[in-house]
């Protein structure tokens, strides 16, 4: 079907561009490494418990994402290619494509940070992999659902960096609180049944934010 191919083309364009420029990936890698190093420094020999580790995990993800995800639209505005995109595809298709790219990027981020944490923090043991995997997946989707349209908003507001975390934080808090909760349970080795409530909230959040963003994106993108 043509729409799927069009969305695929948006994704392909962004991925190819990223492979050539590596702007977003560089920013993310640098941020993650610096953040984790700082945390290690601050903790020294202290071993944090599951609740703290879960919180630290998502804090690093949140701020790394804030430093990298806004680019998805800001780079188009800065380079002047936003008009080109407006003339090449419909807002719905563009949003779907950018959403997919952001979700992929966030997933990559969560997986890399997980690997890093397993290696650097002995307390970070994923005792319930089913809870953890689902949390990371739904968390990435939900994160991306909100972050993508917010990136489009600040790109149109000509206000790049500082505004993005200010706008994103309140909207992401329900997601952050829930994924931190669920991750803590995953580190403690809880049974899946205990995390079902969290998963319901996550699925609800993803559905509502994707639907809402999709409907509202047109108003942000087109003048």
């Amino acid at each position: 079907m043509s729409v799927r191919a069009q969305i695929g083309a948006v994704v392909v364009k962004d991925v190819r561009s990223e492979v050539r420029n590596r702007y977003a990936i560089n920013a993310l890698v640098m941020f993650v490494v610096t953040a984790v190093a700082t945390i290690l420094f601050a903790l020294r020999s202290e071993q944090p418990g599951p609740a703290t580790l879960a919180g630290m995990y998502w804090v690093v993800i949140f701020f790394s994402a804030m430093s990298g995800l806004a680019r998805i639209f800001v780079s188009e505005e800065e380079r002047g290619t936003a008009l080109t995109l407006q003339l090449t595809t419909s807002p719905g298709i563009l949003f779907a494509g950018k959403l997919a790219v952001n979700t992929g990027l966030t997933l990559l981020l969560t997986l890399s940070v997980s690997a890093l944490y397993i290696v650097t923090f002995p307390g970070f043991v994923i005792r319930s992999p089913d809870i953890f995997a689902l949390t990371v997946l739904l968390g990435s989707i939900g994160f991306s659902a909100s972050a993508t349209i917010l990136a489009a908003i600040i790109a149109k507001a000509n206000s790049r960096g500082t505004l993005y975390p200010v706008l994103s934080f309140p909207i992401l808090i329900p997601l952050l609180m829930t994924v931190m909760n669920a991750t803590e349970k995953a580190l403690e080795g809880a049974a899946f049944i205990e995390a079902v409530g969290d998963m319901q909230v996550l699925v609800g959040y993803c559905l509502i934010m994707i639907a809402g963003s999709f409907l509202l994106f047109d108003y942000v993108w087109n003048d």
Binding site: M1, S2, V3, R4, A5, Q6, G8, A9, V10, V12, K13, R16, S17, R20, N21, R79, G80, T81, L83, T84, L85, Q86, L87, T88, T89, S90, P91, G92, I93, D218, N222, D223
Partner: protein, 209 residues
């Protein structure tokens, strides 16, 4: 040749409490052409962006009809080709890649290499086909934009300042493009150059007073 027509119905645009233009009306049937003239700042670029569906009008309506169907605003991109100095292509991709990627986004189909090559040949860029656009001069970039704008054979081709950055050879190419478009579809030209305006059979001047 498809039957198509575009109609501007009492279109006004206000922006930050300032009126750019008011109650502009016109209509063009294919094959046909329209020149929008006026001095700098009279709103020509704003009006053509409204025609392309990129900007919304404060009042009034624009409608493009192809084969009897009115095209909704969110699908205008399929029928419109647009060239202007402020349109940017992707510097990290080659001329051929820009055409291919943008066309995939537009139609979901992969443009045939033969088509891409013949277009690049027409605008005189065949020898730079695989070079990144970032290495092009502004005149070459302008020519590349024509290839991008024509790959999908648009019902309506909009040219804003068509020959900016172009040398004599480039201008001749654009003249040819304009003639072919105005005899097979709809051509809209926004310009304050009288020669370019002369390519079109109709003219509407913009400007306060």
């Amino acid at each position: 040749m498809r039957s198509s027509s575009v109609k501007l119905d009492s279109v006004s645009k206000r922006f930050n409490r300032r009126t750019i233009f008011e109650k502009v009306s016109a209509s063009v049937n294919a094959p046909g052409s329209l020149a929008i003239t006026g001095r700098n700042g009279s709103g020509k670029s704003t009006l053509v962006k409204i025609l392309a569906g990129v900007l919304s009008a404060t009042e009034g309506k624009v409608s493009l009809t192809v084969d009897g169907h009115e095209i909704p605003r969110e699908l205008l991109y399929q029928q419109v080709g647009f060239v202007s100095p402020y349109l940017m292509l992707y510097d990290e991709f080659s001329a051929a890649e820009n055409i291919r990627l943008l066309e995939s986004m537009r139609s979901g189909k992969r443009a045939a290499d033969t088509e891409i090559d013949s277009l690049l040949d027409m605008v005189g860029l065949a020898h730079r086909r695989n070079d990144r656009i970032g290495t092009f001069s502004s005149g070459m970039k302008q020519r590349a934009k024509y290839a991008v704008a024509l790959i999908h054979r648009p019902a309506m081709l909009i040219l804003d300042e068509p020959t900016s950055n172009l040398d004599a050879e480039g201008i001749a190419i654009v003249r040819g493009v304009a003639e072919r478009q105005s005899t097979s579809g709809i051509l809209i030209v926004a310009t304050n150059d009288s020669e370019e305006a002369g390519w079109c059979s109709q003219q509407i001047p913009l400007g306060i007073g």
